[in-house]
């Protein structure tokens, strides 16, 4: 285990929130290191076209925007270290972050670890990933051209996925626990108009039917408890996000869903520790609000450091 010197700021996670914090902190002269598991951009990098980040009037692809944010932060001296954070120690004035084989120390910590797709939590789900179970319609939809798929969920991303898939696939079932969509109005009309979309209201997917890969599902009607089977080639699960706070349990205040409790100041219940982007309790999780969080956290961290 190598003990490094004490940084001014460590940032966990290289999405838009993390790299904006890195940009602001480095530009303010703070000794800043960002720890990223995989690659710049986070969830944003998985998004094909981003049309609602201002300044890109023709849209921008999320991967490119992530790489640009990395370059912008590194231009002012922020460093990126690639590694998986395994543990943190938030007690005391110096915070420590452990990755495989390395330990980092810092006076302030910005948590920007983001969120992952929420899983249904039913049998075989994990084993079937890539064998008919998917969490990214944009990534994998094209493999189901002229086939039958099922989308689980009723929010904006489920509605967008169903609409996208309806243009590629022969048939799209949309399974939702309630009797109407939670998605905003903009999706309702085109979805209702799509002839190959069939809604299964008040219903839940309870079981996968498999022969090496998914061949169908069992659906339960939640009002009548009736069960029936549906043949399908693929299932796209779009039931929201799960904040990546497993490694923080018992160490920082989380809400009932696992999000870090922090208001618009991004301050957590621990002095010198800030939560930014999708991992924080907030009303609107977007690239632009994530970036804003990063700037705010750097501001308050700077204030904290100059006490």
């Amino acid at each position: 285990m190598r003990m490094s010197h004490i940084h001014d700021m460590i940032i966990i996670g290289g999405g838009p929130a993390g790299y904006t914090a890195a940009l602001y902190a480095a530009r303010a002269g703070l000794d800043t290191v960002l720890i990223e598991r995989l690659s710049a951009g986070g969830q944003m990098a998985l998004t094909g076209d981003i049309d609602n980040y201002p300044g890109f009037h023709e849209g921008v692809d999320g991967f490119t925007l992530g790489m640009n944010m990395l370059s912008g932060a590194e231009r002012f001296g922020a460093k990126t270290h690639y590694g998986q954070v395994l543990d943190v120690d938030l007690m005391g004035d110096i915070k420590t972050v452990k990755t495989e084989g390395e330990e980092f120390c810092s006076k302030t910590l910005v948590i920007a670890a983001g969120a992952n797709p929420r899983k249904l939590g039913i049998k075989d789900e994990e084993n079937l990933v890539g064998k008919g179970v998917h969490y990214c319609a944009h990534c994998d939809g094209r493999f189901y051209k002229d086939k039958t798929v099922l989308v689980v969920g009723g929010g904006n991303s489920a509605a967008a996925d169903a609409l996208y898939l309806s243009r590629l696939c022969k048939k799209v079932y949309l399974v939702h626990r309630r009797d109407r969509l939670r998605a905003t109005k903009i999706y309702h009309e085109p979805l209702m108009a799509a002839e190959n979309v069939e809604f299964l209201w008040d219903s839940a997917l309870t079981e996968f039917i498999t022969e090496d890969r998914v061949t169908g599902v069992k659906i339960k009607n939640l009002k009548t408890d009736d069960m029936h089977s549906i043949d399908c080639d693929g299932v796209f699960i779009s039931i929201g996000r799960q904040p990546a706070t497993e490694f923080l349990r018992g160490k920082i205040a989380l809400d009932e869903y696992g999000y870090i409790i922090a208001d618009e100041t991004t301050k957590t219940d621990i002095d010198g520790v800030y939560a930014v982007g999708d991992i924080r309790t907030k009303a609107l999780r977007q690239v632009v609000t994530a970036a804003a969080d990063g700037a705010v956290a750097a501001h308050f961290a700077e204030e904290y450091l100059s006490r």
Binding site: S39, G41, A45, D61
Partner: protein
Amino acid sequence: MSAIKLNKNNFEEIINGDKKVLIDFYADWCGPCKMVSPLVDEIADENPDIAVCKVNVDEEGELAAKFGVSSIPSLFVVEKGKIINSSVGAKPKAQILALIK
């Protein structure tokens, strides 16, 4: 050594060769594939004993179907013509190396 572009003409020869083979199935429009691609390039540079290959699923649909790929990025490790390991989705470099070793 840089990654080999795998297609239906060179496929048989490479996967049945003496070297272990790592195959990355990707597409140009896929965000998580772009995350994995530079890691696969690094692995190719650092491990001359492994035949590191890439398959563009839009150009080589037949190869993708042959491996049952329905999610990208998909990684396969092949030894003497047999699949010995595989994984779906973007993974850190250490996890990709663990698939091979």
